[in-house]
């Protein structure tokens, strides 16, 4: 399946806490208010991330969903992945190794580029 709407890539700041989250949300708000917004959040610069960042992600996701769009995540560090897993936010997003793959995923399904698709029970496998 392919779709042709443009995708906006936003680079998140180095620190995503309450203050920065508000500023970032104001920055992406016009995009989210468009018809069928398609956003990729690039986390490659993020060094500090807290619950305000989690809330930011959820808020953006919900706003995008209201307008039948979507938000995808890219370049998540292992440290950040821990937080997303702890808050179970990781299950709500498609997560990609880089922005390019995330943008491409809006056009076609390409599972090879997706992170976090390894089954959680695989390590418990007895080898069957």
């Amino acid at each position: 399946m392919t779709t042709g709407k443009p995708v906006v890539v936003k680079l998140l700041p180095e620190t995503v806490s309450a203050q920065q989250s508000q500023a970032f949300y104001r920055e992406v708000e016009p995009v989210l208010e468009a018809d069928r917004p398609r956003l990729v959040f690039d986390f490659s610069a993020v060094r500090h991330f807290d619950s305000a960042g989690v809330e930011l992600l959820l808020r953006c996701m919900e706003e995008a969903m209201k307008r039948n769009g979507d938000v995808k995540l890219a370049s998540i560090s292992p440290q950040l992945a821990v937080i997303l897993e702890m808050t179970r936010v990781d299950r709500l997003f498609e997560i990609f190794e880089n922005s390019y793959d995330a943008v491409e995923s809006f056009h076609r399904f390409s599972p090879a580029t997706m992170q976090s698709l390894t089954p959680s029970w695989k390590s418990a496998d007895s080898g069957s």
Binding site: S17, H48, S51, L58, M86, R91
Partner: protein
């Protein structure tokens, strides 16, 4: 040369509704090799459990027919196994599962009368992607009465047999297990995708492999956005979140603020309650999941919950958690959300994802207080 297939479609299924798939239930006797059963004493093969609306048995029948086999026969032990097309498939239902090999013999005799000289016999079993024309050529080149089909790990319980020579052998030649034959034939070894479906984990692995394109099984239905397939009659609330890849089966309902993610497949006539999360899990047909639940790394069949990470099975009789949904008599086409569909836009936001995550976020505030 005329070629036929005889498929042994799992173990007995009793008391199921005709035209409705097997009700698989997990064997609590912790013998993981018997896996799923119709009731406590009747095991059923995972090959009879639906994946994307079609069981491995049904898929194998289709593959045989596509390969140009003149006839396809299925030996099931009850009418519980359903097919979308039954006209060209012979179905036999033995009274006892032990009788199935004598029925195979009868079918071979009928094949012989109809001029069929070669047959594929398969006891499903494993899901194996076999190059049938190559296997047939191999069998003929070897000139042996029986050619077992193996993968790198050994027998897959698939055999190509020369009908006349198999019938002339004593009864003990069926089933044609290798260790029953004095001079074992040369096996045809396949290199394609194989999943032995010996454990519910294998079933989940097959689902994941299908989503990831590692085997030839593909989700049915409409791909409403990249990696999200929704089958006919499914209803997905506008506030439910479907994270690719996932599959929503026909007539399945996903209620508000529910999340389906991580290669999950919801087979037909399921119902996922408000705010529930289905992650890395398979819901077999007619399974209801209540409100606000987390179903992760699991295979759920109505009242049976197989936790794949813990390797345990729990039967839950509480309808507010999981339960079964009676088969629907009518197929009712309903609204299917489409990516970009104007109707999909919510008039009133009633998302519950924030509520769903509130507890975790509270903990996060306590733990991190800022920097990570």
């Amino acid at each position: 040369m005329p070629f036929s297939a005889i498929l042994l479609g799992g173990k007995p299924a009793t008391g199921t509704v005709p035209g409705h798939s097997i009700r698989a239930r997990v064997n609590r006797n912790v013998d993981w090799r018997t896996d799923l059963c119709l009731n406590d004493d009747q095991p059923v093969s995972l090959a009879c459990v639906e994946i994307f609306g079609q069981s491995i048995l049904e898929r194998t029948v289709a593959a045989c027919m596509n390969a140009g086999m003149r006839s396809v026969s299925v030996i099931a032990v009850s009418a519980g196994i359903s097919f979308h097309e039954t006209k060209s498939v012979r179905i036999a239902i033995p009274k006892r599962s032990e009788d199935r090999w004598s029925i195979v013999r009868e079918m071979l005799q009928r094949d012989l009368q109809q001029g069929i000289d070669t047959a594929l016999i398969a006891e499903l079993g494993a899901y194996a992607e076999i190059d049938l024309p190559s296997a047939l050529r191999f069998h003929r080149a070897k000139g042996q009465p029986i050619t077992p089909i193996h993968d790198a790990q050994g027998s897959l319980s698939f055999w190509i047999v020369d009908v006349a020579r198999a019938l002339s052998a004593p009864d003990s030649a069926l089933p044609p297990e290798d260790d029953r034959i004095i001079n074992p034939p040369v096996p045809f070894v396949i290199t394609g995708y194989v999943n032995r479906l010996e454990h519910p984990r294998d079933f989940r692995r097959l689902v994941v492999d299908a989503f990831l394109g590692r085997c030839s099984i593909r989700p049915s239905g409409r791909e409403i956005k990249p990696g999200v397939w929704v089958d006919a009659g499914a209803r997905v609330h506008k506030t439910a979140r479907l994270v690719a890849p996932c599959y929503i089966g026909s007539n399945t309902r996903v209620r508000p603020a529910a999340v389906v993610t991580r290669c999950s497949n919801l087979e037909r006539n399921c119902n996922v309650g408000e705010g529930s999360l289905i992650s890395d899990a398979s819901l077999l047909p007619h399974t209801l999941v209540g409100r606000g639940l987390d179903v992760a790394a699991a295979l759920v069949d109505r009242v049976d919950f197989v936790a794949l990470d813990r390797n345990v099975t729990v039967r839950i009789q509480d309808p507010t958690l999981i339960s079964d949904i009676p088969p629907r008599k009518q197929y009712v086409p309903a609204y299917v959300p489409q990516y970009g569909d104007a109707e999909h836009r919510g008039a009133e936001p009633d998302f519950a994802h924030l509520d769903y995550l509130a507890r975790a976020k509270g903990r996060l505030l306590e733990v991190f207080k800022g920097e990570v």
